[in-house]
Each structure stands twice: as structure tokens, then as C-alpha cells.
Amino acid sequence: MVGTVLRRRMGQLLLALTMFCLLFPVYWLVQSSISTQRELFHTPSYIFPPNPSLVGFKEAIPAIAPALGSSAIIACGTVVVTLFVAVTTGYGLTLSRVGAGGSLVRFLVLMGLVFPVIMFVIPLYELFDHFHLLNSYLGLILADSLYSVPLGILIMYTYMLSLPASFGEAASADGASRGRILVSIVLPLSRPAAATTAIFAFLGAWGDYLFAATFTNGGRVSPASTSVYTLIASNAGPVSWPEVMAASLILGLPTVLAVVFAQRYIRTGLSAGGLVG
């Protein structure tokens, strides 16, 4: 009995310690964003700023506001592209012969894993240069969709396959076309899978730095991830850490919201990926 209690206590301690390490950087991000530069440079560091202030946000919001709009356009565009490709392909695969669909999906997932995103940055740069898609929303939307399309197809295909076939059969007996069945029966039933796909597409595009930094040059199209980087990379005087932390916090906000409010969907998506049950 003593052993069980001790084990339980150890488990709790371990959990607390690990969670502390995992969440401390996020806490530090928050506390630094509401400090002043003076407070941040105080030695020893304050655990919590003595006079919390929003001066960091006052500096950060004008600096990244236009880029946040651009991020939103790109992330929403990526959601649209990903959903369109994933829904149509997922549905098409459920219609095609069983073996072919399954192995194609497995192949796609393996492709998504084997070909790292970084391998696309060089050829896409050339391709987008050719088609005048550098510094364009469309270019970044297409590139960012690479993060989510393979997983999206997998999620949609797996989910649609689990729906009872009788729905579609009854509708086609009534003379409904395939497209009609997709729009009015399969898609409404697949809403949870579509939500999962959309969340992954949005977060992938919102957080992307690789494509954003390579395919844009700091102009109108450049998303927030690049403008936050500009805040630390610019050589104009010392870095204002409250500003950088406030900007980073704003950048991380969609992720925080997704983790807190849409955890169920994130897990669903992962279990569809076959890596996590």
C-alpha cells in the first residue's frame, strides 16, 4: 500500500515537473509581453513584472497588424484549397475500387512523410518565379497547402469510408447524381473530419515561416511570421523584447485557442494519420 501511494506521489511530481518545463516558455512569453524593457533587464529576473503594462502590445500591434491581415488571407485560402482537394479526392477514392484507394492513400501519406517540406522550397521557387507567383497570396496559399493536403486527404478518405454506404445507395436509387450525394449527404455527415482538416490547414499556414520568408520580400503579401522575425532581425537599435514577445504571443494565439477549444479535432486528425491511435 505504501508503495502505491509513493508511486502515485512520484507520478504527480513527475507530471508537475514535465508540465512546468513544457509550459514555462509560454508563461515566460506572456510575462515578458506585459513587462517593460527595464523590468526585463532587471537582475535577477522578475518572475512577474512588478508593474504590468501593455506597452509591448502598443508597439507590436501597429507593427504587425497589416501582416496579420495577410496571414489571415493566406491561412483561410489554404483552408479552402486543402478542403477542396481533400474532400473531392477523399470522396473519389471511396468511390474507386477498394484496393486502389487504400494503397494510393497510404502512398500519399508516405510521400508526405518521406518528402520533407524543405525539399519543395527550391523547385517551387523556380516554378513560382516562372508563373509570377512570388509575392502573391496564391503562391503562398498553394505552398502552404503542402503542409495539410496529404493529411487532409487521409482524414477525409478514412472518415468517408466509415460512413454507411447505404446512404449513398439510397440516394442514387432515387436518381441523385454523385455530386449531389457528395454535397447534400456525404459532406454534411463528414463535418467533423472537415473541421479537423481545416484546423490543421489553418495552423500550418499561419505558422509557416519557410515558404513565407522565401517567396515574399517583406511587401504587402508577407505574413505575420516574417514581420515578427523582422522585429528581432532589424539592425535599427536594440531589440525591444516586450514588443517582440507581444507580437509572438499574438502570432501564437490561434494555436493556443485550437489546443484549448479544439483538442478533440486535433486528436481525431492524428488517429486518422495512423500514427496515433
Binding site: L15, M19, P25, V85, T88, I122, A165, L182, G207, L270
Partner: protein, 330 residues
């Protein structure tokens, strides 16, 4: 899959729905892959990049790679980075998975918060760690000074070894949630009954861990290892912002190396060659993974008794049989 009855009707009409996916794959997967291979075997620099009139040079780009600055360090760092990331990630992720299995309200909250580092934007992750490791004002400097460990400020990111440690620490932080998820699902496959019966049978905590949990997690370990290798090859954004591969190539990694050749030195051919090399390594790793896991699946019944025990536990809920089998283990 066989559950679904396929009539002639359901088999037809698939093609129109596959058209967007086919076009997308050709434009976003097929053509870029063709292009990167072609670039890897061509002389592509800043001057002739746009024209597309690239001269075929055979394996010259590949032969040039080992002579480029940072190559040796990149190889060394990849090994250190891989081992240094995977081992702690697996241990911490595994411990989390074990501890978070029990249910309580606090644990439910923890289960959702634990995903945060993995999904956090790379730029935000990089800036917060950059700030924490900033010297002389940052948190770590302050803590080390307070503890009396250092007196002069340590410029973590200005020293190659320290910078590599920092980059690995950040990567561990990012990777723990994913390891936790993979191991958690591996643990779920092990029936709870199996643990209960082992405890009833008098197996100690350590015996249980070594005889039941670890052998059954072997497949999960292979998965985590594979994903770790792929992750190492794919690492870019947060390292680029923290150190850009420096100082003195001290944190150079494969993806950064390829990116640097193409977009800093403007030698797109060398960058593409490096990419092709990375993909070849990943293909080999992927092939090994498929071989390892499918082999195991085929031999599942024939291999170790523990596996049979697990299968039995999952198949029938009859505990008596499981108890005897676990008890039968020396």
C-alpha cells in the same frame, strides 16, 4: 474496408472527383520533384536561374557538396542532434504517457495543454527561446548567476557547442508532445487487463515495465525513431531564426545546409543536390520502416510470448488465461 458492399454503381463515377487531386499532385508534387532532380544534375546559379537554360553536369553538384564549408559539421551535428533529441523526447514523452493515463480533471487539462509546443508557430517558439537564452539579460543567464554557477555572462548562442545544446533543447521541447501522442497510442494497445492481472499475480512495477510495456512498445519505438530522423532532416525555421546554422556552422543541419546553398549562396544546383541526398536517405529509412513493421506484423503470432499474451488479453476478456500466461513467464 470489406464491410462496404461494392455494386457496379458505386464503382463508377469516381474519376471526375479525382481530377482536382490529380491536377494538384502533378503541379505541387510531380513537377517540383522532377524539377529538383533536374536542378541537382544541372549547373543552376543566380545568372541562369530564370532562363531555365541549365547545363547538365552529371554528378558534379553532388561531388562538390563535401567540399563546401560546414559539410563535416553538418554531418556531425545531425548525429548529435538526432540522438540528443530522440532519447530525451522518448523518455519524457513516455513518462507523460504513463502518468497521464489515469483520469482526473487536472490531467484532462494537461492532456490538451501538452500539445501546445508541437503546434506553436516556429517563429514564436524561436523568439521566446532567443529571449530566454539572451545574454546578459535573459532568464538563463540570470538564473545561472543567481546560483553562482557563472560570473561572466555566458553568450549561449555565440558559442558553437552551447548553441547546439540550445537548439537541441528547443527541439526536444517541440518534439515531446508528438512522442507523447505516439507512445500513448502504443500504450493504449496494451490492454489494461494485462497490467491488472500482472499486478494481481505479484509482478513488481519494474517487472511489469520490462516484461510487458517495453517489449510491446518496440514498434512504437521504431515509429518514433523514424519520425525523429525525418524531423531532423526537415528542421528549418526555428534553427534558422535562433542561429541560422552558426556560429561557425556549429548548428548546421541538413535542411539548413540545402537552404543556405540555394538562397544564401545562390547555387541552386548544390542546394537541389543536397535535397536529393536528403530524400534518398529518407527513402531508405522509410523502406526500412516498412520492412521492419510488416515483417513484425507477419510474424506477430510466432514471436515472443508477451505478444501472444497481449493478443490474448485483447481477444478475450477472460482474465484467468492471461494470468496463467503471464505467470508462466520465468
Amino acid at each position: 474496408m470489406g464491410r462496404r458492399r461494392r455494386s457496379k454503381l458505386t464503382r463508377t463515377g469516381a474519376f471526375p472527383f479525382l481530377v482536382p487531386g490529380i491536377i494538384y499532385s502533378l503541379f505541387m508534387f510531380g513537377y517540383p520533384i522532377y524539377l529538383v532532380v533536374r536542378m541537382a544534375f544541372s549547373n543552376v546559379t543566380f545568372e541562369n536561374f530564370t532562363s531555365g537554360a541549365w547545363k547538365f553536369v552529371g554528378f558534379a553538384n553532388f561531388r562538390a557538396l563535401p567540399d563546401l564549408p560546414g559539410w563535416d559539421l553538418m554531418l556531425r551535428n545531425s548525429g548529435i542532434f538526432l540522438i540528443g533529441s530522440i532519447v530525451p523526447q522518448f523518455i519524457i514523452g513516455g513518462l507523460l504517457a504513463v502518468v497521464l493515463r489515469e483520469t482526473s480533471r487536472l490531467r484532462r487539462i494537461a492532456r490538451s495543454l501538452v500539445l501546445l509546443p508541437w503546434l506553436f508557430p516556429a517563429v514564436a517558439t524561436a523568439t521566446v527561446f532567443l529571449w530566454m537564452f539572451q545574454a546578459p539579460e535573459g532568464l538563463f543567464d540570470s538564473v545561472l548567476k543567481a546560483l553562482g554557477i557563472v560570473h561572466s555572462p555566458p553568450y549561449f548562442l555565440d558559442q558553437p557547442t552551447d548553441a547546439l545544446v540550445v537548439v537541441i533543447l528547443v527541439n526536444i521541447w517541440i518534439g515531446i508532445p508528438f512522442n507523447y501522442l505516439v507512445i500513448q497510442s502504443g500504450l493504449q494497445a496494451i490492454s489494461r487487463d494485462l497490467h491488472e492481472t500482472a499486478t494481481i499475480d505479484g509482478a513488481s512495477w519494474l517487472q511489469e515495465l520490462l516484461r510487458i510495456t517495453v517489449p510491446l512498445l518496440r514498434e512504437t519505438l521504431v515509429t518514433v525513431l523514424m519520425i525523429g530522423i525525418m524531423g531532423t532532416m526537415n528542421v528549418f525555421a526555428f534553427v534558422w531564426i535562433l542561429t541560422a546554422g552558426g556560429p561557425a556552422n556549429g548548428t548546421m543541419l541538413p535542411g539548413l545546409f540545402a537552404y543556405q546553398q540555394a538562397f544564401v549562396n545562390f547555387d541552386y544546383g548544390d542546394g537541389a543536390a543536397m535535397i536529393v541526398l536528403i530524400v534518398v536517405v529518407l527513402l531508405l529509412v522509410g523502406a526500412g520502416y516498412v520492412l521492419l513493421t510488416s515483417e513484425r506484423r507477419r510474424n506477430r503470432r510466432l514471436t515472443r510470448p508477451v505478444r501472444r499474451v497481449a493478443a490474448a488479453g485483447a481477444r478475450d476478456q477472460g482474465k484467468a488465461g492471461v494470468v496463467t500466461m503471464v505467470g508462466g513467464e520465468p
